[in-house]
C-alpha cells in the first residue's frame, strides 16, 4: 500500500471513530457496542483488515446481531434509537475491517454520517460538536484524497500536498456554511417524535431515590460537575455560602436502608406551600442543570413555598407541575433536561412549623431498627447522660462524633450492619454514616430525629451561587418542640462540601461555561432566537434607560449591510464572469461615433450602405466632408479588418478632425444637407 493510501485510510478510520464518539458521549450505548467498535477501530488503524478474506461471512454475522437488537427493542430492554445507533456502529466496524475499495470507503463514511445523525438524536453534549467537527474535517480530507487518487493513473504519485490546502479551505467553508445555515434556517418543528436529551458528560448525581442505602462507596463527593445555579435575594454577598440545600428527608431505618413511610399525594400543583412563611424570607431562583439527573426540587433550608417551575427539554421550555411525595419531597411531574423554578425559604435559625405530620409519622421519628445493637443505646446514654433538651443532646452527640470518628470515603463493600460497623469497628465513614449515627443515637434516647439529604455549600460565580455534584450531603433534623425541625450536622465541617481537586474544579468550570454557552446558543436555539438575531441586526438599539429607539441603526446593522453588499457584489462578479458579454470593438465604437457626427449634419447612410460606401458616395458627389471622411474610413477598415488596432486616444483625435471639418462647413450647406436628410 502506498503512503497516500495509508494516510487516506487513517483519516477515514479516524473520521468514523469521531462519528461513533458523537454517539458514545451520550453514555447511552451499551458497553459491548463500545468495546466492539473500539477494537475494530484500533485494528483498522494498525492497517490490518482481517475481514477482507471473509467479507460475506462477517457481513452475515451482523444479521443475528440485528435480530438480537430487535428482540431487545421489542422486549422493551433497549431504546429503538439506541439500538439503531449500536447497529450502525457494528456495521461501521465491520466495514472498517473489510477490504478497502471505493465502495467500502463510501459505505464507511455513510455509516459515519448516520452515526453522527444518531449522535445528534442521542446527545446534547458539547462533545458532540467536537466530534461532528472532527468527523466533518477528517471525512472531507479522506474523501478528497480518494477522489484525487482515483483520477491519478496507476503508478503515479498522488499529489497530497497540493490537494490538502484547497481541501482544508473547502472544509472550513463547509463548516461556516453549516453555522450560517443553522442560524438562518427557519426552525420548523412537527414535533412528532421528540426525544429527551441526555444528561451530559459523566455521571449525573441522581442522588434522590426513594431509599438511601448506608455504606455506599461515596465517590460522588469528588465529582466537580455543576448541578445547580441559584440567584438569592437578598444577596448574602459571601464567596462561600455554607448553606444546607434540602432535597428530601427519610424517617425509617431498617438497619441498612433509609426510607419514608409517607405516601405520595396524587394531586399535582404548579405551586406548593409547605409551611407558613416568615417575615424575611430568602427568595431563590434556581436552575437545575442536566448533570443533576433527578426530578427532586432543591431549596435552601427551610423551604416554605415552591413553584413556577419550567422544564427545559430538547423541544423547548414549558411550564410543569409539582407532585408532593413523602419526606417533604417535591418532584417535577415531567422529565426534562433541566428545570427552573422559584423558592421562598425561611431564614436559618427561625422557628418553623414542622408541617402537617400524622401520628404515624410522628411515631416514626422515634423508630429504631428491630435488630439494633444494644451497644448503640448504651453508647448514646454514656455520651448524653441524663440530657433532656433535644437540641443540646444533638449538639453534644454531634461534637462527640466529630471528635471521636474520622471521615473517609474509602469504604469496603456492603456489610450486614453498617451502623455498628461504623460506630464500633471501623470508626470512620462519610456523611451518611455520621448523620445516621446521630439520628439513631438521638432516637435511642427518645429524641425525635430524621435523616435529611441534599447539598451543602454554595460557591459564588458572578451573581449566582453554584453547587457541584460533590456538594451532595446528608445531615440530621432534630425535632425541637416549639422550634420545629432544626439542622444538626455530625459530619466534620471540613468534609461537608465538595472534595474534588481545585485544578479539576477549574477545568470543569471552564467546561461547564462552554457547555452552558453551547446549550443556550446551539441546543436551545429557537425560532424566537432566530427572529431576535435578525431583528437585532436590523433594528436601531434602545437608548439606555429610555424606551425610545435611537434614530440610526446600530453598528452591526451597518456591518451586516456591508457584508451583504460585498457578498452580492462577489456573486454578481462571479456570474458576470461566467457569462461574459461580448465587448464592443473599439473600431465599431469609432464608426458609430463617425456616423453620429455625420448624421448630425444630415449625412446619413442609406439602407445597406457601409461607411466605405458613404465615403465613396461623398467623394463622387464632391462633398465638402469627403476629404475628412475618407481617411477616417481607411483607418476604420484597417482597425476593423486589418489587425491594426486603434491606439489609445487615436479615435478621439480622428473624431476631432471630423468635428473641425463639420464646423468649417458653410451654414447654407448645413441647412441644405439637413433639408435633404
Amino acid at each position: 500500500m502506498t503512503r497516500p493510501n495509508r494516510l487516506r485510510l487513517i483519516l477515514r478510520d479516524l473520521g468514523t471513530g469521531a462519528a461513533f464518539a458523537s454517539m458514545a458521549v451520550s453514555g447511552q450505548l451499551p458497553i459491548w457496542a463500545l468495546g466492539l467498535f473500539a477494537v475494530a477501530l484500533v485494528v483498522a488503524l494498525t492497517g490490518r483488515r482481517p475481514f477482507s478474506r471473509l467479507p460475506r461471512l462477517t457481513a452475515v454475522l451482523l444479521v443475528p446481531l440485528a435480530g438480537a437488537l430487535y428482540l431487545a427493542v421489542a422486549s422493551g430492554r433497549m431504546d429503538l434509537v439506541v439500538a439503531a445507533c449500536s447497529f450502525a456502529g457494528l456495521v461501521a466496524g465491520q466495514r472498517l475491517l473489510s477490504e478497502t475499495s471505493p465502495s467500502t470507503d463510501g459505505q464507511v463514511l455513510l455509516a459515519g454520517l448516520l452515526m453522527v445523525a444518531g449522535g445528534a438524536a442521542l446527545s446534547g453534549e458539547l462533545f458532540f460538536a467536537v466530534c461532528l467537527m472532527a468527523f466533518a474535517v477528517l471525512a472531507s480530507l479522506s474523501l478528497g484524497l480518494a477522489v484525487v487518487e482515483a483520477a491519478v493513473p496507476v503508478g503515479e504519485p498522488v499529489p497530497v500536498r497540493e490537494v490538502m490546502r484547497p481541501l482544508a479551505k473547502g472544509t472550513l467553508f463547509a463548516l461556516l456554511g453549516a453555522v450560517a445555515f443553522f442560524i438562518l434556517f427557519p426552525r420548523l418543528n412537527w414535533n412528532v417524535g421528540a426525544r429527551r436529551a441526555s444528561p451530559g458528560l459523566g455521571t449525573a448525581t441522581s442522588g434522590f431515590s426513594d431509599t438511601v442505602r448506608l455504606g455506599g462507596s461515596g465517590t460522588l463527593k469528588s465529582n466537580p460537575r455543576v448541578v445547580l445555579r441559584a440567584t438569592l435575594a437578598p444577596d448574602p454577598g459571601t464567596e462561600q455560602l455554607g448553606a444546607y440545600w434540602l432535597g428530601r428527608t427519610y424517617d425509617t431505618f431498617d438497619g441498612q436502608e433509609w426510607s419514608t413511610i409517607g405516601a405520595p399525594k396524587k394531586r399535582s400543583r404548579t405551586r406548593v406551600t409547605l409551611r407558613p412563611g416568615a417575615d424575611k424570607q430568602v427568595y431563590q431562583k434556581v436552575e437545575l442543570l442536566p448533570a443533576y439527573g433527578s426530578r427532586t426540587l432543591i431549596a435552601l433550608e427551610t423551604p416554605s413555598k415552591l413553584g413556577n417551575a419550567l422544564v427545559h427539554t430538547s423541544t423547548g421550555t414549558r411550564r410543569t407541575q409539582l407532585q408532593e411525595l413523602g419526606g417533604d419531597e417535591l418532584r417535577f411531574v415531567v422529565e426534562g433536561l433541566g428545570y427552573s423554578y422559584e423558592v421562598y425559604s425561611v431564614p436559618p435559625g427561625t422557628d418553623t412549623d414542622p408541617g402537617k405530620l400524622e401520628q404515624l409519622e410522628h411515631d416514626q421519628l422515634l423508630a429504631l431498627p428491630d435488630n439494633l445493637d444494644p451497644r448503640v443505646t448504651e453508647l448514646a446514654r454514656q455520651v448524653l447522660g441524663d440530657e433532656k433538651d433535644p437540641l443540646t443532646a444533638a449538639n453534644k452527640l454531634s461534637s462527640w462524633l466529630q471528635r471521636e470518628y474520622t471521615y473517609t470515603l474509602e469504604l469496603g463493600g456492603d456489610v450486614t450492619d453498617p451502623l455498628t460497623e461504623f460506630l464500633f469497628a471501623r470508626k470512620a465513614g462519610h456523611c451518611e454514616h455520621f448523620a445516621t449515627a446521630l439520628t439513631l443515637l438521638l432516637r435511642s434516647q427518645g429524641f425525635q430525629a430524621r435523616l435529611a439529604t441534599g447539598f451543602f455549600g454554595g460557591e459564588r460565580i458572578g451573581d449566582e451561587y453554584i453547587l457541584r455534584a460533590g456538594d451532595a450531603h446528608a445531615w440530621t433534623h432534630v425535632l425541637v418542640p416549639g422550634r420545629g425541625f432544626v439542622t444538626v450536622d455530625a459530619t466534620p465541617p471540613a468534609f461537608r462540601a465538595n472534595q474534588s481537586l481545585e485544578l479539576l474544579e477549574s477545568l470543569v468550570s471552564i467546561y461547564e461555561a462552554i457547555e452552558s454557552a453551547w446549550r443556550s446558543s446551539v441546543v436551545d436555539y429557537s425560532f424566537r432566537d432566530q427572529m431576535n438575531f435578525v431583528r437585532d441586526l436590523t433594528r436601531p438599539p434602545r437608548a439606555p434607560g429610555d424606551k425610545k429607539r435611537l434614530d440610526l441603526p446600530p453598528m452591526r446593522a451597518w456591518v451586516t449591510a456591508v457584508l451583504v453588499g460585498v457578498a452580492v457584489y462577489q456573486a454578481w462578479r462571479y456570474l458576470s464572469r461566467r457569462k461574459p458579454r461580448t465587448k464592443a470593438l473599439e473600431a465599431t465604437r469609432f464608426v458609430d461615433a463617425v456616423e453620429r457626427q455625420l448624421a448630425a449634419v444630415g449625412v446619413k447612410p442609406r439602407d445597406g450602405e457601409t461607411l466605405e460606401d458613404v465615403s465613396a458616395r461623398l467623394t463622387r458627389e464632391a462633398h465638402p466632408l469627403a476629404p475628412a471622411v475618407s481617411p477616417l474610413t481607411r483607418r476604420y477598415l484597417e482597425a476593423r479588418f486589418g489587425q491594426r488596432a486603434l491606439q489609445p486616444g487615436e479615435s478621439a483625435q480622428l473624431l476631432k478632425g471630423l468635428k473641425l471639418a463639420i464646423a468649417a462647413l458653410p451654414p447654407e450647406e448645413k441647412h441644405q444637407q439637413k433639408a435633404r436628410a
Binding site: 455513510l110 445528534a120 491519478v152 426552525r187 423541544t315
Partner: protein, 294 residues
C-alpha cells in the same frame, strides 16, 4: 454515492423537522453546505480549461490503445479531472489528479473501439467529482475529429496465396527455400533448415552449425485482396484476416500489395506499408465518410 448522500440528507432533514432537535439542524446544515460547496468547487475546477486532442499511434478494434489529450488551465489549479470522448463508441477514460495553472498536461487513456472503421469524434468530455466524490460535474469541449480504427488483430486462418513474384536469382526450387543474393551474415542453423547453407569453416571455428544469410534471400511479393461483394461479418473477418496476413508477411520481410474493391495498393515492405494496408482496410466499406473527411 451522491444519491445515497441526498437520501441521508433528506432523512436528517425529516428528523430535524420531526423532532426539532437543533443538533440535527446543525448536521443538516453541514450536509447542505457540503452539497453547495461540492457544486461550487467542481464548477471552479472546470473553469478556464482548454483541451486539445493528441490522438493515438494506432487504434485496433477490440483491444485497448493509448489515446492522449492535452489539457491546460489558464488560471488556478484543477483536481481530479477525467477525460473521455463524448458521443462515440470508444470506451475508457484518462485522468489527471492535479493540474497546475499554465502548463499543459498530457492525459493518457486506454480506450477501446468495438469495431473497425472511422470513428467520428465530436468533443471531449471533462468530468470531475472534486472535492468529495459525491457529485460529478461535466463539461464538454467541442472538438471535431476522426479516429481511424484498424481491423482487429488476430491470426490468419489461411495461408496467403502463391507469391506474385518468386525468388530472385536462381530458378525456383521447392526444396530450396533460401535465396542466393549477397552474403548478409551468419546465423545459427535452425531445426529443419537446409543444411546445404552451412558455412563449414565458420561452424568449425565457432563449434556450432552456422548458416549463411544472403540478402533478399527470403523476400517475395504477395498481393492480398478483399473480394468485391463482401459485407457485414464476412467482410470484417476478411479484413482481419488480410491484416493478419499482411502483418505476418511484412514481418517476414516480404513485399505485400493489396487489392480492394476500387482501391489498389502497390506492393511494398516495412511498417509504412503495413500502416497503409491497415488504413486501406479500415476505410473499406466507409468510403463515403472518407470523402466527407477529405
Amino acid at each position: 454515492m451522491g444519491r445515497t448522500y441526498l437520501v441521508v440528507t433528506f432523512g436528517v432533514g425529516l428528523g430535524a423537522l420531526n423532532t426539532g432537535n437543533n443538533l440535527l439542524y446543525l448536521v443538516l446544515g453541514l450536509l447542505l453546505s457540503v452539497i453547495i460547496l461540492s457544486g461550487v468547487l467542481s464548477e471552479r475546477c472546470l473553469k478556464d480549461l482548454s483541451v486539445r486532442r493528441i490522438g493515438t499511434e494506432g487504434a485496433f478494434a477490440g483491444e485497448p490503445f493509448a489515446f492522449r489529450w492535452g489539457i491546460t488551465r489558464k488560471r488556478g489549479h484543477a483536481f481530479a479531472l477525467t477525460l473521455s470522448e463524448v458521443d462515440s463508441p470508444l470506451t475508457g477514460e484518462g485522468g489527471v489528479g492535479y493540474l497546475p495553472a499554465g502548463a499543459e498536461h498530457v492525459v493518457r487513456a486506454d480506450l477501446t473501439a468495438p469495431r473497425r472503421g472511422p470513428v467520428k469524434l465530436s468533443g471531449v468530455r471533462v468530468t470531475t467529482t472534486w472535492p468529495l466524490g459525491l457529485f460529478a460535474k461535466t463539461r464538454v469541449f467541442a472538438l471535431e475529429g476522426t479516429l481511424l480504427v484498424y481491423p482487429r488483430r488476430g491470426f490468419a486462418c489461411e495461408d496467403p496465396l502463391d507469391a506474385a513474384v518468386g525468388h530472385v536469382g536462381e530458378a525456383n526450387n521447392p526444396r530450396r527455400m533460401d535465396g542466393t543474393g549477397d552474403m548478409a551474415g551468419l546465423k545459427e542453423l535452425g531445426e529443419h533448415e537446409d543444411a546445404r547453407r552451412v558455412h563449414w569453416m565458420k561452424s568449425a571455428s565457432a563449434g556450432k552449425l552456422l548458416k549463411v544469410e544472403r540478402e533478399r534471400e527470403e523476400r517475395r511479393t504477395f498481393i492480398l485482396d478483399v473480394k468485391t461483394g463482401l459485407a457485414g461479418d464476412v467482410l470484417e473477418r476478411r479484413c482481419e484476416e488480410v491484416a493478419a496476413q499482411a502483418h505476418r508477411l511484412l514481418e517476414a520481410g516480404h513485399e505485400v500489395g493489396l487489392e480492394l474493391p476500387g482501391t489498389r495498393l502497390r506492393p511494398g515492405a516495412g511498417s509504412g506499408q503495413e500502416r497503409g494496408i491497415l488504413r486501406a482496410l479500415a476505410w473499406l466499406g466507409f468510403e463515403e465518410q472518407r470523402e466527407e473527411a477529405a
